[in-house]
């Protein structure tokens, strides 16, 4: 398997703080990462409501070894903490998801969301500024009109590149519950935002109304048995979307059938194995992420212990199941006590849909090659990160004699978790968020 044998470690820290591996502020914890559709830009969102966008350097012939490094391109405050006075609730500024819009002109557009509000941001460059105004000086001071004796035509002069981010749309007041995901439609005109009980369809141009297309809120809240955990549009079919539930099922819906897509057209669920039933069966079967493959033929879902690949044509069981960290099955009780069992891991496809990746604890992340059925565990850590070094596969010892370089289950650090990862759409470049650090790994391809 073409593994990540060489990597370029980048440890990006938020610019305002000095961090060590053990000391960081809560606000700096990265809460989402996303490549744009070309892979040129990489956006991260954090708990403090900030968005940091990285841009890949252009390859230069003079410095071929600095091939495509990512540097900070823009930083802006996307969301601020708010207070809902009606319900006496504080609304966190944490960025839950970022989704890029495909580039249509010189500017870049992305959607970012916290628990309640989605915002459309425009990121644009300015490298020229007009000089030579008549009514004001170059530094902005108003000129006394009586002193003007002649007119001049302002001209654009080059200036240092400035990247500015402006909020173009704010989509608010449409969600009673916490937004967990957003997904841009392939028609590039609409997108969906999803909370625990509802999915709303928006037009990117219209902020004062949205259409509710899924509503699973029961008439009597006491009868609530499941919530929506994630939703995504099909990558090609603009009328199809899927949403996952806390009960471990996925529903595929067609918006052409009815205005309200409460009736699914496909229902994916694997029957539970009664022999593995435990106190925590419901928790570990809750799906934390759902992703369509790039080719639109498969769905991938992540629950607490496994990643599953589903064929859209087969609803009764997954096509493939990968064990991410099955050694945790015997530790569910303590993971419940320390709340780790509620961690929501994400999963990603590579560009060709041949490899899938997801995170784990101890800053481990796992890759599964669907064709060769081989898998690897890698670690994102500063101690192991040296430029141009090879990422060494890691192994967790589940019992018996622990070999050298293996780590035992009891030694795993559950405070170091990799929940968010993203894969470059075309190349073998991955970005991995480990708490407050961002690691970008690249597979060297000659």
């Amino acid at each position: 398997m073409k593994c990540f044998s060489r990597y370029l470690p980048y440890l990006f820290r938020p610019p305002s703080t000095i961090l060590s591996s053990t000391c960081h502020t809560e606000a700096d914890i990265i809460s989402t990462v996303e490549f744009n559709s070309s892979g040129e830009l990489l956006a991260t969102g954090d708990k403090g409501g900030r968005v940091v966008v990285f841009q890949r350097e252009q390859e230069s012939k003079s410095q071929p070894q600095r091939r495509g490094e990512y540097n900070v391109y823009s930083t802006f405050q996307s969301h601020e903490p708010e207070f809902d006075y009606l319900k006496s609730l504080e609304i966190e500024e944490k960025i839950n998801k970022i989704k890029w819009l495909p580039q249509q002109n010189a500017a870049y557009f992305l959607l970012s969301t916290n628990d309640k509000t989605v915002k459309l941001w425009k990121i644009s460059e300015r490298d020229k500024r007009p000089e030579g105004y008549n009514l004001k000086d170059d530094d902005g001071r108003i000129r006394d009109p009586s002193t003007i004796t002649s007119l001049r035509v302002p001209v654009l002069q080059p200036m240092d590149l400035m990247v500015e981010a402006t909020a173009r749309r704010v989509f608010s007041n449409a969600h009673t519950y916490h937004i967990n995901s957003i997904s841009v439609n392939s028609d590039l005109q609409t997108y969906i935002s999803t909370d625990d009980l509802r999915v709303n369809l928006w037009n990117l141009e219209i902020t004062d109304r949205s259409f509710n297309i899924v509503d699973i809120k029961p008439a009597n809240m006491e009868e609530l048995t499941e919530v929506i955990t994630s939703a995504e549009f099909h990558p090609q079919q603009c009328h199809t979307f899927a949403y996952s539930s806390s009960k471990g099922s996925i529903r595929l819906c067609d918006m052409r059938e009815a205005a309200l897509c409460d009736r699914h057209c496909k229902y994916f669920e694997e029957p539970e194995d009664p022999s593995t039933r435990s106190f925590f069966s419901e928790i570990i079967s809750s799906i934390s992420d759902v992703k369509f493959s790039h080719n639109g033929r498969y769905l991938m879902t992540r629950d607490y212990l496994t990643v599953k690949v589903w064929d859209l044509q087969m609803e009764n069981k997954p096509l493939e199941t990968y064990q991410v960290h099955d050694y945790l099955r015997g530790k569910l009780c303590s993971l419940y006590e320390n709340d780790c069992i509620f961690d929501k891991f994400e999963c990603v496809w590579n560009g060709s849909d041949s490899v899938i990746m997801t995170g784990s604890y101890n800053n481990f992340f796992r890759m599964f090659d669907r064709n060769t059925k081989r898998d690897v565990t890698l670690e994102a850590s500063r101690e192991n990160s040296k430029p141009r070094a090879i990422l060494k596969p890691r192994k967790v010892c589940v019992g018996g004699k622990r070999r050298k370089d293996e780590i035992s289950v009891d030694s795993l650090d559950f405070s170091k978790k990799i929940l968010h990862t993203t894969w470059h759409p075309h190349e073998n470049i991955i970005a991995v968020a480990a708490t407050n650090n961002l690691y970008i790994f690249q597979d060297k391809v000659n």
């Binding site: 504080e90 625990d196 919530v227 530790k331």
Partner: protein, 295 residues
């Protein structure tokens, strides 16, 4: 069949932990997380099922079911107003309800290894003692239900000993419509206690005060409001529970009241109240698992 082999998971311990999580979630930044609380409620339900099963298995092992019923019948003839052990009761109730916000009744949880343990468990969840000590009914055989509202400062209506009807309120706020629904149960614990033979009294234990007749509540089920109708549906789900007549709607309302307002009071007396909460939770029905999410 839930495996209890993982990490020596103790059902009662899980229940305590889960209740604590639900309590903590109410003060977390960002508001109550519906998804997480729903999952916690599933753990609560699973733990309760295991606990009940284990308890029943233990009881059945110790004594035949018929003997248990015989004991119950014998208890019916006991004087319900036996005041000899009142001091213990009073003390327990004071311990439970010293905090103004606590709706939790003094639950008999002493001497767990009793043949009638299951019955005591059932009776333990019934009713809740008065919140205000100065107006506490001196007769420990009566229970006060608490009027709980969604506001942080719950209060409890005190009933005169004559036992006029009082309301057992639970308030639910619908986050979408912002409609506050208050459900009232016009049932009087005292009436039921007086009318029906008490159940679940270990003859040897001070717990015999804890008498509530499930039968009387069952008879009132038909008159309950929509809110408690949900509990009725939940009763049918839990067959094993139902067959042993542990269906008590007021327990659920008490539990929901606890979740609604009484946690800080409950949890200030950690050791006792863990037991109390656990016992109450265990003897309740499935509806409370979903009632939690209503917050």
């Amino acid at each position: 069949m839930i495996s209890t082999m993982e990490c020596g998971a103790d059902a009662q311990n899980l229940i305590s932990i889960s209740l604590m999580k639900i309590h903590n979630s109410r003060t977390q930044r960002g508001g109550i997380k519906l998804h997480k609380n729903l999952l916690v409620s599933y753990v609560l339900r699973n733990a309760r099922q295991v606990y009940i099963k284990e308890k029943y298995a233990e009881i059945y092992r110790m004594q035949q079911y018929e003997e248990v019923m015989t004991v119950c019948n014998e208890i019916q003839e006991l004087d319900p107003l036996d005041l000899d052990a009142e001091d213990d009761e009073e003390h327990a109730r004071t311990a439970c309800c010293g905090e103004g916000a606590s709706p939790c009744g003094s639950v008999c949880h002493r001497g767990a290894a009793q043949p009638a343990a299951h019955a005591r468990t059932a009776s333990a969840v019934f009713g809740c003692a008065s919140l205000e000590e100065d107006t506490r009914e001196p007769d420990p055989s009566y229970y006060r239900s608490c009027c709980m509202e969604a506001s942080p400062a719950p209060h409890c209506d005190q009933l005169p000993a004559s036992g006029s009807a009082h309301c057992n309120k639970t308030t639910v706020l619908d986050l979408d419509t912002h409609v506050v629904t208050t459900v009232e149960n016009g049932y009087l614990h005292q009436d039921c206690c007086c009318d029906a033979p008490p159940l679940g009294q270990g003859a040897q234990t001070p717990a015999k005060k804890r008498k509530v007749e499930p039968g009387c509540y069952v008879s009132d089920v038909e008159e309950i409001s929509d809110f408690t109708a949900a509990r009725k549906r939940a009763k049918r789900e839990d067959c094993s529970y139902h067959s042993l007549d542990y269906t008590d709607t007021s327990n659920i309302s008490n539990l929901i009241s606890i979740f609604g307002s009484g946690f800080s009071g409950l949890l200030s007396r950690q050791a006792d109240l863990e037991q109390i909460c656990s016992k109450q939770v265990l003897a309740s029905l499935g509806a409370w698992t979903r009632a939690i999410v209503a917050f």
